[in-house]
């Protein structure tokens, strides 16, 4: 067991700040690293120490494993927390940490390697008895084998290039008559795209739910799960809204899936926080999709319903401590929803909207948590992820949580850039979301109402026009801005309220 007194956070943005918050609570000193674009980022100002690691592009700074190790050694950090993204699922980096006597807060390099390889992960899950999407684990050898396989797993199926990615070399087969032509087409496309015509076959799950289970494991063989997160609200595989519990879940299903999630983690002797992602169809069949061997963006909703600080647990088990959690004592209390705030223009094809934050007002009060990192005057760099903040609400029931989220979105004001706030509010008002009747096709299905033009009364428009009028006149007459709220123009004579318009 190694006592951790100082942690280098090899990340930026909200997650770097979020990790440092827990470190501060635990009395652990923090070391920030920053690229040239991030000198004034919140994580640099929040940390006890800060080191420059390179130019703005990630590959020259946040992905520079050797440079980050160098900083860790120089600053005498005991451990490195990689956050999510960047080096968090990089086995070579985990190995480099170990070689330099630095604790990598995450699973071992071997586990990262294994779970990062789709075929290997799939085999490990089958061995552990965890259901996977039915199909072949190796490339098919002939068209006959394809027909045979498809007969055994049933239509529809997806034919996928082994070397594939990005949708290339993929064919959906819904009718038996099309099998041969689809296999041929996929093969030829795979050959053209990747120089390798190997394809394999998987059952096609249409309109699935994306449901994941949070797991935590320690070095002593203890593994628990912290229940599910429903992550089906996605736009182009980008999650936008997550919630827990899932409306789809029954007590039985949760028990089964939770058990499989724990089995999956145990199968690879998993240490740390991880997530088992499942596809669930409308008949509640579920299949292992992949394992994320790191903290997820959406981890706060789990923290809110279980009361457990996941980063604290990560740090504790990385230091060799026992997990000290007993599955039967864990519970989900109430309902939590997370909305991701992106700097993007939902009215304009979700175009990224970097720029300078002019004003920001965060929602506060009962049941509201914000995890962000931008501040007024901060210029969002063009080099990194467009997510600027996460808004998490909790309430006793799902209905109340949706009401609270709407209220929080009402209070959240970010000006200077376009954000996804309006779009998120629309999601909260869409009947399919309110009733909980949705799957990964939600955004496509509700595109019309989600993207409809806002109707605002003429009067509201007129108030905007009047505001612009006064701002224009005011800027013509003044130089030095202040933050004080002024009457429309200071030059005008001062009367008290009572002497003028009758207000009632």
């Amino acid at each position: 067991m190694s006592k951790i007194n100082k942690i280098l956070v090899a990340n930026r943005g909200e997650i770097a700040v979020r990790i440092m918050r827990t470190c501060r609570e635990m009395g652990i000193a923090t070391v920030a690293v920053f690229s040239e674009a991030d000198r004034t980022s919140m994580h640099v100002r929040y940390a006890d120490e800060a080191y420059y690691v390179g130019p703005a592009p990630s590959k020259d700074s946040y992905l520079k494993a050797d440079k980050i190790i160098e900083v860790a050694l120089k600053s005498k950090a005991d451990a490195i927390h990689p956050g999510y993204g960047f080096l968090s699922e990089n086995a070579a980096f985990a190995r480099l940490c170990r070689e330099n006597g630095i604790v990598f807060i995450g699973p071992t390099a071997e586990v990262i390697d294994k779970m990062g390889d789709k075929i290997q992960a799939r085999k490990a899950m089958i061995a552990a008895g965890v259901p996977v999407v039915p199909g072949t684990t190796e490339a098919i050898k002939s068209e006959d084998e394809a027909i045979e396989t498809i007969e055994s797993i049933g239509l529809p199926v997806m034919i996928k290039a082994s070397a594939g990615g990005g949708g290339k070399g993929m064919r959906l087969v819904e009718k038996a008559a099309n099998i041969i032509s689809a296999v041929r087409a996929a093969r030829s496309e795979a050959l053209a795209s990747f120089g390798d015509d190997a394809v394999y076959i998987e059952k096609y799950v249409s309109s699935p739910h994306h449901i994941e289970f949070q797991v935590l494991g320690d070095e002593h063989g203890n593994v628990v799960h912290l229940f599910e997160r429903e992550c089906s609200i996605q736009r182009r595989h980008q999650k936008m809204v997550e919630e827990t519990p899932s409306v789809l879940m029954t007590e039985d299903l949760r028990y089964q899936m939770g058990k499989h999630a724990v089995d999956a983690a145990k199968a690879v002797n998993y240490v740390g926080a991880g997530t088992i992602e499942f596809l669930v169809d409308n008949d509640l069949n579920y299949y292992f999709l992949e394992m994320n061997t790191r903290l997820q963006v959406e981890h706060p909703i789990t923290e809110r319903v279980t009361g457990i600080d996941l980063v604290k647990k990560q740090i504790e088990v990385a230091g060799g401590m026992h997990l000290n959690l007993i599955q039967s004592e864990l519970e989900q209390k109430g309902h939590a929803i997370e909305c991701r705030i992106y700097a993007e223009d939902s009215d304009n094809n979700f175009m990224p909207s970097p720029g300078k934050i002019h004003n920001i007002t965060e929602p506060l009060g009962l049941g509201v948590r914000t995890d962000g990192y931008v501040y007024e005057g901060y210029e969002i760099p063009i080099h990194y992820d467009p997510m600027i903040s996460k808004l998490i609400v909790w309430a006793q029931t799902r209905e109340e949580a949706i009401q609270r989220m709407r209220r929080a979105l009402y209070e959240y004001k970010i000006t200077g850039i376009r954000s996804s706030l309006k779009f998120l509010n629309r999601i909260m008002e869409t009947p399919d979301f309110v009733t909980g009747n949705y799957d990964t096709n939600f955004i496509e299905k509700n595109r019309k109402t989600l993207m409809a033009e806002s109707v605002e009364e003429l009067e509201q428009q007129d108030m905007v026009i009047i505001s612009a009028y006064f701002d224009f006149v005011n800027r013509k007459n003044k130089i030095i801005p202040t933050k004080e709220l002024n009457p429309a123009n200071n030059r005008w004579k001062k009367y008290t309220y009572q002497k003028n318009f009758d207000r009632l």
Binding site: A343, E344, D347, N348, M351, P352, S353, P354, G355, H358, N359, I382, H383, Y384, D385, P386, Y410, K413, T415, G416, R418, K422, N425, S454, E456, Q460, Q461, D462, M463, V464, I465, I466, S467, A468, Y469, F470, D471, F472, N474, R475, K478, I480, P481, T482, K483, E484, L485, N486, P487, A488, N489, W492, K493, K494, Y495, Y497, K499, N500, F501, R503
Partner: protein, 169 residues
């Protein structure tokens, strides 16, 4: 002096009829409002009209006299048309197609690749430049058939919002 303000397709005329400090009688087109307006120099406006509380935030754009306004549910682009602007507008009436002759960056970003060079003949719809911002790449296409008059950027350049990248003639 009434001032005209353009909001989307609408051009509205604004005129102050009466004012006692923050209590103002104002006419927008032919509708008269009695409002209580407070604001600060950062563009935060609080207006009480018939006892309804409105919150509006204005952010000036880089182009002078233009704003982006944030209300509860909407974002508007606004332009103030004063005497000077009216003059320029009238004078420039013939040059409306100017925007079609330029490819401008709609946001700050980094040039991934410039696909045309000066003197190239280009066709409408042809991709001229690829811009990347926040891990997303976008292709920018030529709006009219023509010849490339100027290429103002190179691969790897960082560009500002509204910067002119390519000019077509």
């Amino acid at each position: 002096m009434p001032i005209e303000i353009k909001l989307g397709d609408r051009i509205a005329s604004v005129k102050i009829l009466n004012q006692n400090e923050n209590l103002i009688e104002v006419m927008v087109d032919d509708k008269t409002y009695n409002i209580d307006l407070m604001h600060n120099d950062e563009g935060t406006f609080s207006i009480i009209e018939s006892n309804r509380s409105h919150n509006i935030s204005l952010v000036p754009s880089q182009k002078p006299k233009t704003y982006t306004a944030f209300t509860l549910h909407n974002t508007y682009d606004l332009e103030v048309i004063d005497a000077e602007a009216r003059y320029i507008r009238n004078r420039g009436a013939g040059a409306i197609a100017q925007s079609e002759k330029q490819i401008t960056a709609p946001m700050p970003g980094k040039i991934v690749k410039v696909l045309v060079k000066e003197g190239d003949e280009v066709k409408q719809g042809q991709t001229a430049v690829i811009l990347s911002a926040m891990k997303m790449e976008s292709e920018y296409k030529v709006a009219i058939d023509g010849v490339v008059k100027a290429v103002n950027v190179s691969d790897g350049d960082t560009v500002e919002s509204n910067q002119v990248l390519i000019e077509i003639d």
